[in-house]
């Protein structure tokens, strides 16, 4: 693992991604210390263009709210939603995939048909429906994102487990009488994890995009400032005030890009065939 992270950091894309992500996390954690006032607070005249007043580098929105403060508080929501919903979908997808792949047969069939059921519905449409039904709030958004994004995890883990369970060391474990659960937990999953880690980093990016899209459509938590909300609210006045939309848009772009670079870098680092040359 240590070696992997070294490879990741030696990869220029990965290095850039990690740097951006660290900055984003730092902003999310410490930014509110610099901007203690609520991002909803109307602090200056509306439609103040960026770079005109020192205190408001990114200008103000249609109600006179500080765009900079919005982006800083939005970073919290975006990263939080991305992280938690990814963890939640891993928590569903990994066990399902592992069970399906390990036990095979009817259990596999049943679980995979169930997974396909979710995969056949367009995920964004399903997320919209779920959030609309549950009333938009941070909990329902995280739940909806988790629900629509676990199937690929389950498929991926199943595939890995399917190939690993025929390996000799797994068969050896079976012969020595270890329980199925122990074998899955100790022998198979640790070896199946590297592609999942790569996938997870991309899922965080997708989750951030999903949350932004939902907020853009007005299905965000109305009590929390998020980037998607800012883009959505600013979109209607884009011809008068481009900066309200553009800066949060850049924030979304950069953080999603960073996560993708990290995913790419991790893929290089964790894939033994690709990583060998680097070692």
């Amino acid at each position: 693992m240590k070696q992997a992270s070294r490879v990741l950091l030696r990869n220029p894309g990965g290095l850039i991604g990690v740097t951006i992500l660290i900055i984003a996390v730092a902003v999310a954690l410490f930014g509110p210390l610099l901007f203690p006032a609520s991002p909803w607070r109307m602090v200056q005249r509306p439609f103040l263009p960026p770079f005109t007043l020192a205190g408001f580098p990114l200008g103000t929105d249609a109600l006179g709210r500080d765009v900079m403060a919005g982006i800083i508080y939005g970073a919290r929501i975006s990263l939080l939603v991305g992280l938690i919903s990814t963890l939640a979908s891993l928590a569903v997808g990994i066990p399902l995939g592992a069970i399906a792949g390990y036990f095979g047969g009817k259990i596999d069939d049943a679980l995979m048909r169930f997974t396909e059921f979710f995969q056949t519905v367009p995920s964004f449409a399903l997320a919209i429906v779920l959030v609309a039904i549950m009333q938009p709030s941070i909990v329902s958004i995280v739940a909806a994102i988790a629900i629509v994004s676990w199937p690929p995890v389950a498929r991926l883990v199943r595939g890995e487990v399917l190939s690993l369970r025929t390996r000799e060391y797994v068969q050896a474990a079976v012969v020595t009488g270890q329980t199925n659960w122990w074998i899955i937990w100790r022998e198979i999953l640790p070896n199946a994890l590297s592609p999942v880690i790569v996938l997870a980093s991309l899922m965080v990016a997708t989750a951030i995009l999903l949350e932004s899209s939902l907020s853009f459509l007005g299905l965000g938590d109305p009590n929390l400032m998020s980037w998607g909300y800012m883009v959505g609210a600013g979109r209607t006045v884009i011809r008068q005030a481009w900066w309200i939309t553009v800066f949060p848009g850049i924030a979304i772009l950069v953080s999603v890009l960073a996560l993708n670079l990290i995913g790419e870098g991790l893929n290089d680092a964790l894939n033994p065939r690709l990583a060998k040359g680097g070692r």
Binding site: S38, W40, R41, M42, P46, A62, L63, G64, A132, Q135, P136, G218, L219, D221, P222, N223, A233, T236, V237, R239, Q240
Partner: protein, 517 residues
Amino acid sequence: MSKRKILISLATTFLLSTAAVAEGPKAGGVVNAVIQPEPPSLMMGLVQNGPTQMVAGNIYEGLLRYSPKLDPLPGLAESWSVSEDGKVYTFKLVKGVTWHDGKPFTSADVLFSIEFLKQTHARARGNLAQLDKVEAPDESTVVFTLKQPFGPFIGIFEVGSLPMIPKHIYEGTDFKTNPANNTPIGTGPFMFREWQKGSFIRLVKNPSYHVKGKPNIDDIYWHVIPDAAARSVAYETGKVDVLPGGSVENFDVPRLSKLKNTCVTGAGWEFFSPHSWLWLNNRSGPTANKKFRQALMFAIDRNMAKDVVWNGLGKVATGPSGSAIKYYTSAVPKYDYDPAKAKALLKEAGYAGEKVRMLPLPYGETWQRWAEMVRQNLQDVGINVEMIATDVPGWNQKVSEWDYDIAFTYLYQYGDPALGVGRNYVSTQIAKGSPFNNVEGYSNPEIDKLFADGAVAFPDSAREEIYAKAQKILVEDVPVAWMLELQFPTITRCSVKNLITTGIGVNDGFRDAWIEK
């Protein structure tokens, strides 16, 4: 009589002289307007939602029209009189009026329309509740006799409230399924010609309209453009010339009004007077406390909302009546923006940070921004507000089932406190299932009595006194938090002249309009 003659001759000289100086109305031309959303039907006797009234107001007519001050003007009735005791209203109809299919319009049509609308038009039914009988002594006279004097009665004859329906087409048929509903026939200045669903509605000039020389315009095309941004663009590119109030988002108004040859007016909404307020649940939670409700009034910066959210359009509401409504008084307690006072009142009310749920009105960006602004105002004085996101059906349900603490709304007022104001404050209007009645649950026997008396008091000076008292009590009690008298600006090319001349605005406007070339 001689007095009348003088008036007429004065009017003619005036008209002649203006005609000599300025350019008079020119005949001809086509107007392209936006209609939003597409109306479900144009049969105004059956459907009375906003877009239907806007288009069909040119096809149908009422007995009266109303000036921006809400004084009655001749429509299908050329004159009218009220008996000494305020119970008998006699209308003389204009002679020689024909329906669009050439059949004559007579008093029999008026009697039929009353019966028709009692079955199909909820608001007309309410307005006619005091009607004892209606008779037609001859072809051009109609006499309404009331059970008791009902001051607002003279205000119920506008085209959307009491449109005239052709008897010869509807008598003895099932109104709702009559095929003629698809080709509406009225007496108005324009006739229905064509409706391409999802695209446009075309009206054409009525050549035998009963007012000589009118209308001036040949064709009106009402374009259906579902997207707000596309509607603004349609105006900018010159596809449409008239954007009726509410058809573009507020933040587009300043940009559009700066365009060349563009005129913007807030006039033409006096009769409806859209009045916005926050429903405050008077039954439970912090909002049940009068001091808390007063604190809200002091905490909310309504001037800023007007300037920022509504781009300076509208007026800060002083109480339950809009300022264009009859018997409006500004002699009521004042609630200027004063956060310090709000905090003091909250303290007195014993408010300890309980959560207060707020429902914005799900009618688009403007309302969402407004709710965010109010939430910030309230949070600034220490009120713990949680905004609940809903869609239109969800909003309707939550409000009609009283499941809210604070909820945004706006309603029309129809010119008279007995028609459009009392319904939100009298205790007989407390009933689950409607978002338009006394939703806040305010109950005050004194107010009940004042509104009951006010509706039937006679003469007008007596009504004035009663309503002044009612307004004072209500403003003191703050059953709901009044926000703004809304204004929906109508944007037109300046070359479209004389479009808005009455208190009903575009809804009956094209009769007098003309195009400068």
